[in-house]
Symmetry: C2
Subunit: 350 residues, 2 copies
């Protein structure tokens, strides 16, 4: 068994971070690449995998970037962190801030953040403030506030975040022995697609490992990179990608284009269907995490993408526990039965 | 980077399971052993670690046992699984049943299971039935129903569950290069303490790796192994150990005694304090998972245990996301502020 020391130790030589920093780590990364045989068979792909990023310490991929951003912040003498968040960034920033003994300030859009995500941030002692505005307004505000407080901005505008998140690409390459043909993932603020493309390109240059074609997925009601302009009131059940003005938009579009892929939008109904498909393979993800599967299905079934005999990897960005209320049927009343065997056998037959 | 293949592949030679079974795996295990330097310093221990079992696929240690139980069930031709659960077993059984294409029936005590746990089970398509009775009544019922349905019982009465859960001991030994001086963990139905002791003993016989003294922790309102008799109406905020009639009680008492440790009870207030202590080290756990820390603190501060210069490992059984509502303060109203910098600076100062 390996003794995993976190993504910064594991990939130090591949990361463009200041030399000699001490990692602030919760032993993030090293997440499973799990096969999804039923979907692979449906599509005649040679192999389909999910990179299960919900198995990071705070339940999402954000921890990879946060270990980098917080480690650099501490090396620079920071005392406080600040971020805007739809939830996952908040939980991650709060956990790493606690680990490092830093103050953590989180701005969230009022009423827009899943309860479980918020609870994590508050459990770690972050100061959570709701603003009367969207995520995009919150992201503008934290950029203004960061130098005034002062606090280090740990949204994915912070380049160290992208370095850390590139490690997911390194792990996929290490696992498969080279790049998959396709990589599909949700696109919200667009930091992750940018980071993964950065990671694959960097390794391709140094090790000739090849690069995947990248398929980015936005929700139909929050698809600024598909419609070509900001969306003022983004709407989708997939709260983690409910973003109308992505901070890394141009980079995301470049990543899709340069890789030979694209960014497409998918309706919420298809996102929830994909979430159910993953659950039936044993993987419970939050809705946004299923957007890549929904997008791949649409592209494959329409014939725009052919993955027969090819390998595809999906990035499942966050755990289902992050947003349990949204799953279809989980809010239905539960059958309640007397505690005797006959009543139960009867109930189970119907 | 290792390509982890799950606990059955990793520890096949150490496990007493039928030969040649194909693992049904979600790539569980390989969880971090994370240092908790502040608590270690408070106690003058040479090192204190948390085995972060919430980073398993369904967010708890149950996945280790479930991969074993479900793999054996499938090899035996089973079509259905059944269990009683306070929540974590349900989520795990449901996920592995989905992976294997089996029916999954879960009995839960009415109104006693944290919402996030239940959502997971239902997301994976399990049939969840509430019974008008306690967990202990549910556990009696599933034993009656299993042969009638027929369905394989996957509670920790199932010996394969214990084999799988023993792998946490193997990982700790691999990581530390030998046994810690102390191991502390929560005790509910008592399967996990029994499994870990089994794992440490087995490896000690084969590899002379030594064994830890084991400190089991029960909640004061649900402490049958401390008071010496079943508790009819167990009460505690720590829902995962709200069990009054532990199925593996005698084994748990033997494990504590043989190892040179003990089983003690801790009040809910101390469990919640320990949860906050772990959160301030960057680890958010569900309340039950903090019981071991609460017990260790009580034993150390009273002088009954001396861990100066010694190593202690805590098993944090489940993720904080499993039960987010319970954390102190997470239900307090969140500060809401206008989306302008001046209002925010003012709010953050107060």
């Amino acid at each position: 068994m390996s003794s995993w020391r976190g993504v910064l130790e594991q990939y130090r030589e591949w990361l463009e971070l200041p030399q000699g920093i001490s990692p602030v780590t919760l032993l993030e990364g090293n997440t499973p690449l799990l096969s999804i045989p039923h979907l692979a068979a449906d599509w005649n792909s040679s192999a389909a995998y999910v990179k299960v990023e919900g198995m990071n310490p705070t339940g999402s991929f954000k921890d990879r970037g946060m270990t980098a951003a917080v480690s650099v912040a501490v090396a620079g003498g920071a005392r406080a962190l600040i971020c805007a968040s739809t939830g996952n960034t908040a939980a991650s920033a709060a956990a790493y801030a606690a680990r490092a003994g830093l103050r953590c300030i989180v701005l969230i859009p009022e009423g827009q953040v899943a309860a479980g995500k918020l609870a994590g941030a508050r459990a770690h002692g972050a100061e959570v403030v709701q603003i009367q505005g969207s995520f995009d307004a919150a992201l503008e505000l934290v950029q203004e506030l960061a130098p005034l407080l002062p606090a280090v901005l740990v949204n994915s505008l912070n380049p160290d975040r992208l370095e850390g998140q590139a490690t997911a690409a390194f792990e996929i390459l290490d696992h498969l022995g080279g790049a998959p043909d396709w990589l599909a993932l949700p696109v919200g603020n667009a930091g992750n697609i940018s980071a993964l493309w950065l990671g694959f390109r960097r390794m391709a240059e140094k090790r000739s490992s090849g690069t995947p074609r990248i398929l980015g997925a936005q929700a139909a009601g929050a698809a600024p990179l598909v419609v070509g302009s900001p969306v003022e009131n983004p709407r989708t059940v997939a709260s983690a990608i409910r973003i109308g003005r992505p901070a890394r938009g141009p980079q995301a579009l470049a990543a899709a284009r340069e890789s030979g892929g694209g960014i497409v939008s998918v309706p919420d109904s298809e996102i929830l269907r994909a979430q159910a498909d993953l659950a039936s393979e044993g993987i419970w993800v939050e809705p946004a995490s299923a957007a890549g599967v929904a997008a791949a299905r649409a592209e494959i079934e329409s014939g725009r993408i052919d993955i027969k005999g090819k390998t595809i990897v999906f990035i499942a960005t966050g755990h289902g526990l992050k947003d349990p209320a949204l799953y279809p049927h989980v809010n239905d009343p539960i059958l309640t039965v007397l505690a005797n065997p006959r009543a139960l056998m009867e109930a189970l037959r119907t």
